[in-house]
Amino acid sequence: MATLGAPARAHAAPQALSDSAAWRTIASTLGVATFIGVWVAVTSLGLVPPTFLPSPTAVLARIVDLTHEPYSGSLLQAHLLASLRKFGLSYLLAVVIGVPLGLLMGRFRFVDWLVSPVFEGLRFIPPIAWVPFSILWFGTGFLAPTLVIFAGAFSPCVLNAYRGAKLIDRQLIEAAQTLGARGWTMLGQVMLPAALPHIVAGLRVSAGFGWQSLIGAELIVGSTGLGYMIVQGESNLAPAVVIAGMATIGVVGALIDYTMRALEDWIRRDWGR
């Protein structure tokens, strides 16, 4: 997806005033100030009741409270850790199965023909729609969101590894074959490194989908995690808890994205030299 940060082609002549860096910094600061100012104003002037929208300071105070007073069974950091553990387990599973599968599909036409129809059929089911079967198969415990996260993270892994494998220079594969590379050697030591930039791009997309799917699953099933915490906040009519949880989800999501982007840049720059 395109990002806002992408440097767009500048218009030919820089417009004198509105284009200068100082004005843009001022405008940016004003934008954030407006956002926070409106939030503070509507809450402190009593335009909305605190049961609808608490003030920013109330939310901050709540975040501090949540780190040393358990809410719905755990501290904020424990909920966060629970979410991260579920995410890590399923994401790893999706990568470990998805990437080799994608490479194999790119390498062997028969595997491609065999897997593609199933894959294409299942791809149209939104990950979150796996929640009911996930409950029937794994119960409501720690494993319940696994299938949902897997469903979210799996297809970008497969698709990007497949694309990466398809774009490998034929001569590279043939050279490796001539030198006697077979099976796992071919997959792990020739195709994986050659397709790595594509694979890592897929890993980033799939981490984002996986994280979002996890939160969705936790809203519906489970008894730990950030998603569970915000649903509990909702049923206790505590919007401060809900917003505190959302902020945590946003920060973690942004950190995951940032880490994966850094990994992607590092591999683009330093790989294959």
């Binding site: 997806m1 940016s28 956002f35 036409r109 023909w113 089911i125 029937l136 649903v231």
Partner: protein
């Protein structure tokens, strides 16, 4: 996964026939395995996965007397109406905002940071707050669908406008076009392909978020069927609802592709 970058080379038609044969064989094999493991062999409990009979039975029940408070047609109509409302609202608000940000750097500097502040929060995570704000009814669903679609719509409109060839704009100006004419006759048409790319992403996000919101709490819709069926341990009903979600997701994409062909006829 058609359209491989590898050269079609020799024997392409034969490969296509082989490919279809493999696909057809696979589908038959999977259907047979489904029938055998859930039916005669009794390997899979119908509480875990429905047999074809269970699924058919569920579909019949869903269409004629109905399930979870309404018939299948009503549930589908409900879900589609909510997605439609939220998506149209996001299109009507997100695209103008994106165009504004694309054409004025000052507006971009003002709006963008707030956008970046809110965007990392997954739309799904807004569901509890919207329930708190608007309850379980139409307003909450439309709001969260709008939220999911808004940022891809705005971002792609922004990117589209920013990437319009400056030469086109200069040429229009030279020929005496007013600012409004430049916008409506040059900038918007030139950025339509990118805008539609954003809308495609938006629509898929909308559909997923709506199903999620219906699973969390609702009175009707496909997600509502699923959650009631899970409570009743009715795997056949879950299966039918999931199939409907997948098929309607495809149908929505196809419908949008039609709109795109009508709105951007010069694209291909």
């Amino acid at each position: 996964m058609a359209g491989s970058p590898r050269s079609p080379g020799r024997g392409a038609p034969r490969a296509r026939v082989q490919r279809s044969a493999v696909a057809a064989g696979l589908v038959v094999a999977l259907l047979a395995a489904w029938y055998l493991t859930t039916g005669p062999l009794e390997l899979v409990n119908s509480l875990q996965f429905p047999s074809p009979d269970d699924a058919y039975e569920a579909l019949r029940q869903l269409t004629s007397p109905g399930y979870a408070g309404a018939t299948l047609a009503r549930h589908i109509a409900d879900s589609l109406a909510l997605v439609g409302l939220g998506f149209v609202a996001a299109t009507l608000t997100g695209i103008p905002l994106g165009i504004l940000m694309g054409s004025s750097r000052l507006a971009e500097a003002y709006i963008n940071p707030v956008f970046q502040l809110i965007r990392p929060i997954a739309p799904i995570a807004w569901i509890p707050l919207t329930i708190l704000w608007f309850g379980l009814g139409t307003a909450a669903k439309v709001f969260v669908v709008w939220l999911a679609a808004f940022s891809p719509a705005a971002i792609n409109a922004f990117t589209g406008v920013r990437n319009v060839d400056p030469v086109l704009i200069a040429a229009a100006r030279v020929h005496g076009a007013s600012a409004r004419q430049v916008l409506s006759q040059v900038v918007i048409p030139a950025s339509l392909p990118t805008i539609f790319t954003g809308l495609r992403v938006s629509l898929q996000a909308c559909w997923m978020v709506l199903v999620a919101a219906e699973l969390v709490g609702s009175f009707a819709g496909l997600g509502h069927i699923m959650i009631i069926a899970t409570r009743d341990l009715n795997s056949g009903m879950i299966f039918v609802a999931m199939a409907c979600v997948a098929l309607l997701g495809v149908a929505l994409s196809v419908a949008l592709a039609w709109v795109e062909r009508w709105a951007v006829p010069w694209r291909r």
